[in-house]
Subunit: 405 residues, 2 copies
Amino acid sequence: MKIAVKKFGGTSVGSPERIKNIATRLIKAKKQFPNLVIVVSAMGATTDNLVKLAFEMSPTPCPREYDALISTGENVSAALLAMALNGAGTPAISLTGLQAGIKTENIYNRAKIIKVEPSRIYDELSKGKIVIVTGFQGVNHILDVTTIGRGGSDTSAVVLASVIGASECDICTDVDGVYTTDPRLVKNARKLDEISYDEMLELASLGAKVLHPRSVECAKENNIVIHVRSSFKDSEGTRVKEDTNLESQRPVTGITLNQEQATLSILKVPDTPGVAGVIFSRLAEKNINVDMIVQSINENKMNDVTYTIDKIDLDVAKKISQTICDDLHASRIEWDDNIAKLSVVGIGMVSKPGVAAKMFQVFGDHKINIKFISTSEIKISCVINKKDAQQALQYLHDAFELDKH
Amino acid sequence: MKIAVKKFGGTSVGSPERIKNIATRLIKAKKQFPNLVIVVSAMGATTDNLVKLAFEMSPTPCPREYDALISTGENVSAALLAMALNGAGTPAISLTGLQAGIKTENIYNRAKIIKVEPSRIYDELSKGKIVIVTGFQGVNHILDVTTIGRGGSDTSAVVLASVIGASECDICTDVDGVYTTDPRLVKNARKLDEISYDEMLELASLGAKVLHPRSVECAKENNIVIHVRSSFKDSEGTRVKEDTNLESQRPVTGITLNQEQATLSILKVPDTPGVAGVIFSRLAEKNINVDMIVQSINENKMNDVTYTIDKIDLDVAKKISQTICDDLHASRIEWDDNIAKLSVVGIGMVSKPGVAAKMFQVFGDHKINIKFISTSEIKISCVINKKDAQQALQYLHDAFELDKH
């Protein structure tokens, strides 16, 4: 059974009209792909509104109830889309995470999918129905609803594509593909035809919001081509796939700007073995995602340890870091949430040296101070002052000539 | 394990503030009743808004998807209440119909509960948690969500009370009890301390919106006392229970006005045996609830058959009736949705004759034309013109002196 998987994001199902519009497009698509599995997010601002309600109940909403609450957004959009299709004479059925057989770990808010039992999906497809699965949610071993983290509907779609043997997964969204950088910030940003998993993974992890990084990881592991494309027109978007020949000659593929991070430092940590292990395992225990880590030797074998985290985790991370600071007899903690991280990404930089040098040169030419640097094989990230960020993005985009094919 | 069951309606959980208010009241109640099972409806207008969305998708929304959609309202309010309780330091958990073990027949929109497997409820109670169950919903044999009809949360609460061995079930609502008639329509309407199941059943069936008739039936069958009371204050409300001695001396207990019905007539139906069976079984097949039935002999052994139905069913019922009319070679159909039904109810009328006579006299004195009459042991209903309805209600309330204890 050849099955096509398409995921529609929150903007695409953001109003009754848009849902009906998607239904019309799906009825057309079914002629080409008789077996369609659709994954939907919640309508527009629904999840945000539910989150707001949750925080009106408690400053720290119970995680289980939080998932029970916010998962309802996807139930609503899935049921509405199924109604629109059925109403137009095309049989369709909505399935919740539970009904679609999506099993996750037994944690809340950011559970991982561990297994999919798709028998119900096959059943319904074999009855000629378009199957609409709620993204973002699954159930744990006692059938409590879990969610897999914001943006997780992309991951739901890729996991389903993999389980049911689809070779490609359409991620339909309100942009028409992946760009060299955010086109709202840089006017001459250019849409890419293809991008490799690794580049997309870097871009997604670095804050390009078009795809959730876990969905890219998952696609890479299972060799699923992700086709990022517009929900509203038929034009080709950007294919995320195995290292492409087509454009791999370019040293830099894209640039991202992340303004949602903060830095935290623990100063004068005694330099004994295992100290870094203590710090980062204790942050990990509390589910704090640490991004860049810089350790610099101070005096008298004292280290300053600085790391970047998501800004929303700052309050929690401050508390943990203060305890770590006390326990390790370090001097004190410091933080800065007025930063931005600029990253240039390109699989080509492996074979083309000088990308880092050029990036630093651009900053130097414009007197922009670099606070931290972090590199991987295909990425160079610099943390700078937030006020310089947008200008710096344009300088880099121009310097690497990303507007040119 | 002694367990108290309390149900809160949509108005009672209609805003974040109200939910927190209910949470505060429950924390107090838990001191008196350590084992609390709470049943909640959807917040305020949520269900109506979801219904509106459904009809924007299709004029005849797919029943399965309709249930999948509107059941989310209860999921939201249950999770929010659990969060508010947990946030205030009182352990609580929300359970969906599925998780609470509520199994229904395999029909949608008005399924009956056939079984409750309350092991999860007991589990959570034994952990000291307040258990919050979503009203109005269950699951069928393939775990698809079903709903049990509007107002069904009352039934959910009574069924749960019965299954877990509670002797009383609090139905907490925005009125403080059951009145002799709608106090918004009749200023001197009086709150009743007690009312019998049979009277309440008549009142509920006749349109007194304070309790769903199925919940009363269910309470009667299982001998559960329903305590209708305010969500917002501790005062005693009205107890619905086995035939009471206290007030059974009164001939009339209450009067209802139902303006949500319409009449349908099939004219000149040939008078052959089995004709009524055909008509009403075919209406029943389409889940049309027929209330009053009047058959009058016309000429040449032709009958006019008239029946009242819920106004929302009128369009569907018209279509079915037209087909029946054609099939039976009857003359034509007629309908009227400009009617009102007034009913006086009282267990005392069994032993006190003259209630019907007095009712007709009141109508006669005020020149109000009676279109149909229907009686039961404890009820007399008259269908009149809608324009006379509210005035007639006041005349009857005065004539039977219902404002006096």
